[in-house]
């Protein structure tokens, strides 16, 4: 019966051994997170502000730090710095995406409306600033930035209402395809409309006012940091406003709509009006983000606003944890930052990845509330096992590395296939083992496997991919696609699920076709 489809299957027996391991880890981390949340919530307010303030400070300082490191050592921040592309530029893009994710989260996470065409609003925001602000647009009004942005927000809100009006009566996936169509309609209309610059786009988009002490423009083209700070400030502002909404009658109404639209309406919620509001608010935030994006870039063309971008927005929301504002920001980080980070691969990245893995596992172990002694023992065992695993893996990896180098790039594909086969076999063996072994063994095995895999791939990949494309770059999107799958499987509820979603189970309530006569 339907009730069962609403339940989590954390009970054993189901699924492959691998699934069981990931489940076990997830459950444990869940417990840790839960208690973290509990403790965090229990802290007095000021105590909660301190770490948040520190985090904010770090975020603000990132580009400065990167710049100074670059000047002194020649390369940016280790591990997190982005090779072959501007770090503050990436930070800005992450910010623009995060802003969109926050806006889209209102629509998808709060009100439960699936919107696959959110990029349409982003585009409208960007183009409003371009058309009204650029002296080279057909309109040539060349309004200053400070006027363009509000116009952009207003126009996107109107666009949200125009799209929502006729279509919000549709349910679920029908709405999804219609919104997807909307996004495409916006893009193609720009492509085909002369005053909007067609595919050639519009350049000379105004930038925010402001000057540096030396008289040069604050918001320039080479130094993107000011734009990053601007978008960071806007994110904070929008977060506050959205939180206000969330903790109000409106937020409750959205949740109710998401849970059961008919019942909500029968409890006095004007569902249509609130859905329209969700659309309009989401649109406005997207429009704002688009406007800032356009002025940062100084140029827009329709190719930027394709379906894939829409899907990435949605991926940010879902991966981060639909319904949780901070989660979706994290999602934006992953969706934008990770592919950019993968432009280059280096040892620091492996090392960091590995350290994070070990620490995460140690923490989850500690969080299992056992006696202190047993806990410490386990954590120590994990750490030691992990370090040993790492050493072995590095040894094997280095060996392989030199073999590969010697063999040269004669037949890298065969080597890769061979290596993958080895890893798969070792992995399967380990997983089999893990299926029955104690948790500690599982962790050690997982760490070993993970380290081995990474080092191996790191050792071979450059040689293999030199042949195929240009370095690891070529595989970025392939890896990204796989990462989406892995992340979905590993954390279906999102990285930082909302409190509700944390407990939420597959909630595909059977829509009762009409009315409430179930």
């Amino acid at each position: 019966m339907s009730q069962d489809t609403l339940t989590p299957t954390t009970a054993p027996a189901a699924g492959s051994p691998l699934l069981r391991v990931t489940d076990a880890i997830a459950a444990r981390r869940e417990a840790a997170m839960g208690s973290f949340r509990h403790r965090w919530g229990g802290l007095p307010r000021p105590a909660r502000f301190v770490p948040a303030g520190l985090l904010l400070l770090v975020l603000i300082m990132l580009p400065v730090w990167d710049k100074s490191l670059r000047e002194s050592t020649g390369s940016g921040i280790p591990v997190i710095g982005t090779p072959n592309t501007s770090f503050s530029g990436v930070l800005f893009l992450v910010g623009a995406f995060a802003l969109c994710a926050i806006g889209l989260n209102v629509v998808v996470g709060f009100a439960g409306l699936l919107d696959l065409g959110y990029v349409g609003f982003y585009a409208i925001g960007a183009y409003t600033v371009a058309v009204f602000g650029s002296p080279s647009s057909d309109l040539a009004t060349a309004y200053p930035w400070l006027i363009c942005i509000p116009i952009g927000i207003a126009l996107t809100m109107i666009a949200g209402v125009i799209l929502g009006g006729p279509t919000l009566r549709l349910r679920g996936d029908y709405l999804a395809i219609v919104t997807l169509g909307f996004g495409e309609i916006v893009r193609l209309t720009i492509v085909n409309t002369d005053p909007l610059g067609n595919r050639a786009g519009i350049s000379n988009i105004p930038k925010p006012p402001g000057e540096k002490s030396d008289g040069s423009k604050l918001f320039g083209v080479v130094d993107i940091a000011p734009f990053y700070w601007l978008i960071l400030a806007l994110i904070l502002l929008i977060l506050v406003l959205v939180s206000n909404l969330e903790r109000s009658r409106v937020g409750r109404a959205w949740l109710a709509i998401r849970e059961d639209e008919d019942a909500a309406e029968l409890m006095g919620v004007p569902t249509f009006r609130f859905k329209l509001w969700a659309f309009a608010i989401g649109a406005a935030v997207g429009g704002l983000s688009g406007g800032i994006f356009a002025s940062r870039q100084g140029f827009v063309n329709p190719d930027t606003f394709d379906v894939l971008t829409s899907i990435l927005f949605l991926a940010a929301v879902v991966i981060g944890g639909s319904g949780n504002k901070f989660g979706v920001i994290l999602g934006a980080v992953i969706v934008v930052y990770v592919p950019e980070r993968l432009r280059g691969f280096d040892e620091t990245l492996f090392a960091a990845w590995f350290v994070v893995l070990v620490i995460a596992l140690a923490v989850t172990l500690i969080s299992r509330r056992k006696t202190l002694f047993a806990t410490n023992l386990r954590a120590a065992a994990t750490l030691v096992g992990g370090v040993l695993g790492f050493v072995v893996a590095v040894g094997v990896g280095t060996q392989l590395h030199s073999i590969v180098t010697e063999v040269g790039t004669e037949n890298p594909t065969r080597l890769l296939v061979g290596a993958v086969a080895v890893v798969l076999i070792v992995g399967l063996l380990l997983v089999r083992l893990v299926g029955s072994a104690q948790a500690e063994g599982a962790h050690a095995a997982a760490i070993f496997l993970g380290a081995f895999l990474t080092v191996l791939v790191g050792a071979i990949a450059p040689y293999v991919f030199d042949e195929i494309g240009d370095g690891i770059q070529a595989l970025r999107y392939f890896a990204f696609g796989l990462a989406l799958i892995v992340m979905s499987v590993f954390r279906p509820q999102g990285l930082l699920p909302s409190r509700r979603r944390a407990t939420e189970l597959a909630d595909r309530k059977k829509e009762v076709a009409v009315g409430v006569n179930a």
Partner: protein, 306 residues
């Protein structure tokens, strides 16, 4: 806690049917809670809702066929009839889920006409559902607050920018009222549990609290006792009475005759979408048409299925 008139409600009288929350108290009604008076203050007995010649067809099926009856202010009216007689459909017509093919519904001196569902709720009709339809991931308290929000006026911009004091007042009042109602139906201790985790019986109570939160004049309950055992049914009877005693008018659909006969003031009987009888419980019980169509012969040979 429970009053002496309701001995069944003493904590030890019923086993707590609850495995999730072992230390939750058994359900009990706190009648010291003073529910806000329903909005209209007209004397008991006057017609509150009137179904006038309501007909509803779905394609070939005539679910309601010229149904005519009225609910008087302050009474508990029972609506019974065989399966598929059109009872739930009546609710759906009253609450705007369906538009009648023919006929009009009058409520509190107004035609319902083509009003939207939420407008009807705001007019003062609230309901529960035959199959429970709570907002499963929201807490019990939030569920009730959604109901209470039906009477609130904070606009979306008001909520975004928090400029008006009304927002804060309404939030506070809504919360207080929701807690009050949860206490009234006896599940205040579970206010912060997600609705989906509540045991079945508590979910039904929560539905009633949520409906009451919209400050209705008329409360419609659709088989609130389905799946309850007799002891639980007795408890529910007390709850329904308590609601009526607070001045609400109640319309009740139920198949359990002991409950219906025990709690209602009047009963309307439907069959094949037509009203076949109306009267006091005693009258209806002895009505041969009702016996033939619905009640069946007390202990005996199978009659034709409705």
């Amino acid at each position: 806690m429970s009053t002496p008139d309701h001995p069944e409600l003493k904590p030890d009288a019923v086993e707590a049917p609850d495995s999730i929350l072992p230390d939750a108290p058994p359900p009990s009604i706190d009648e010291s809670v003073d529910l806000p008076e329903p909005e209209a203050h007209v004397s008991v007995g006057e017609k509150l809702l009137e179904m006038r010649n309501i007909t509803l067809r779905f394609g070939g099926v005539t679910a309601l066929d010229g149904v005519d009856f009225a609910i008087n202010r302050g009474e508990i009216l029972g609506l019974i009839g065989p399966n598929g007689a059109g009872k739930t459909t009546c609710f759906n017509v009253m609450t705007g889920v369906y538009q009648p093919t023919d006929g009009t519904v009058w409520f509190d001196g107004k035609k319902l006409g083509r009003r939207k569902k939420y407008q009807i709720t705001r007019l003062g009709i609230a309901r529960t559902f035959q199959n429970i339809r709570l907002f499963p991931e929201m807490s019990a308290l939030e569920n009730v607050m959604v109901g209470a929000d039906a009477r609130h006026k904070t606009s979306v911009p008001g909520a975004v920018f928090r400029l008006s004091p009304r927002h804060f007042r309404e939030e506070r009042e809504g919360r207080e009222r929701a807690m009050e109602l949860l206490r009234f139906v006896g599940i205040a201790d579970l206010a912060h549990a997600a609705a989906r985790n509540l045991p079945y019986g508590y979910q039904r109570r929560l539905e009633i609290a949520r409906a009451l939160a919209t400050e209705p004049t008329l409360l419609c309950l659709d088989e609130p006792a389905a799946g309850f055992n007799p002891a639980e049914k007795a408890e529910l009877m007390d709850l329904i009475r308590a609601i009526r005693d607070q001045g609400y008018t109640v319309l009740l659909i139920e198949h359990d005759m002991r409950l219906v006969m025990g709690v209602t003031d009047r009963i309307v009987v439907l069959e094949f979408g037509k009203k076949i009888a109306e009267g006091t419980p005693a009258e209806v019980r002895d009505n041969p048409a009702v016996i033939a169509a619905y009640l069946g012969v007390p202990e005996g040979e199978p009659t034709d299925v409705a």
